[in-house]
Symmetry: D2
Subunit: 121 residues, 4 copies
Amino acid sequence: MKIRVYYEDTDAGGIVYHANYIKYCERARSEVFFENDLSPEMNGCHFVAGSMTCKFIKSAKLGDILEVKTELLENKNVSLLLKQTIFLKDEKIFEMEIKVGFVDKSGKITKIPQELKTIFE
Amino acid sequence: MKIRVYYEDTDAGGIVYHANYIKYCERARSEVFFENDLSPEMNGCHFVAGSMTCKFIKSAKLGDILEVKTELLENKNVSLLLKQTIFLKDEKIFEMEIKVGFVDKSGKITKIPQELKTIFE
Amino acid sequence: MKIRVYYEDTDAGGIVYHANYIKYCERARSEVFFENDLSPEMNGCHFVAGSMTCKFIKSAKLGDILEVKTELLENKNVSLLLKQTIFLKDEKIFEMEIKVGFVDKSGKITKIPQELKTIFE
Amino acid sequence: MKIRVYYEDTDAGGIVYHANYIKYCERARSEVFFENDLSPEMNGCHFVAGSMTCKFIKSAKLGDILEVKTELLENKNVSLLLKQTIFLKDEKIFEMEIKVGFVDKSGKITKIPQELKTIFE
């Protein structure tokens, strides 16, 4: 998934604001569902972030085109462990491992539907 | 209402990203409800922006403390017309007039509860 | 220009947060430069919003694909008046007229380079 | 440091969008400088995120007032390791450890001025 850096993504330091790399990764995760005609929300249930480890390697700036790659590391009943890497012209600038859980309306952990798991496999 | 400008609010131009003044005004509108122990959401209904006119006068930058003033111009059954002005050290830097309507869950225009109107009067 | 609505764009009302339509329009303006191998910044000068009038017609939600159209209404030495319209499946959901000026590093109004004007014509 | 949750912070799931907890922590770090009449930027140098580990424990929602606590874990010449914890009514809802480095205009790692280190100690 390709993402262009716009003004809103940058900060007064002239580079992409650090929390926005987390947003780019979330866009990439959601896009996996959308392009399969699915939604990250299903029957009122949705994914939530549980924990993540991030490494900021280089900075991106206004106008850059970034690429986000998403890889499944662990596939459990109620959670997924994903590795997401952001590249700028083939150079890795950010990487993160994120564990996402699946919860129902009340916030209770619930089983991820097979249909949603399949697309990450 | 006082608002500090943080990195996330600025862009690569070194100043506050223009759309964030609109966010500051929304914070100020919501805060009117919160500090009266109310919420801008009531019985599943909430306010939506209908139209607005904005004038960007000067720019704010990282670390500035802004003040937002909110004034009621027009008070109708299903909408409010508000004037919101942002000041930096007593100097006006942004002003906007915004018309907000009140809608129910399905998005249908509905009457604003008297309780919510009173606090703007 | 096509824009997908992601989680970060929505709010607790379940729809796109109103200020984000303003961001989408800015992305579309910047993209006009980027896809012509130019940048909205040139020789340390850049565009700033002067005033705008917005009309919120319908709401977009998570997963929607929006289209932003940008039209030049007025072309002056130091400013441009643009009309930007956002469509969801051919239905107009937002429109705005925005006047942008061109300023140098110190914030002083300056002439827009012909190279940048040409691409909007 | 106290932070109110506004509409812009929430998403269609009805809760605070996960990347916004990272923003809240950055606000708290910057505020440490501002309230000491300093800035996180000094002589053209500024802090950048190097790596972080985050744990999302509970969710916050519209109108909540959160409190961010910042603690210095490690104090080196060119970097700081901080622990930041977010509380909602005395309950821990988010925690993170973040390593921030200090860089000059060109992005080169540089020594943190003693003046800036002192305030975290």
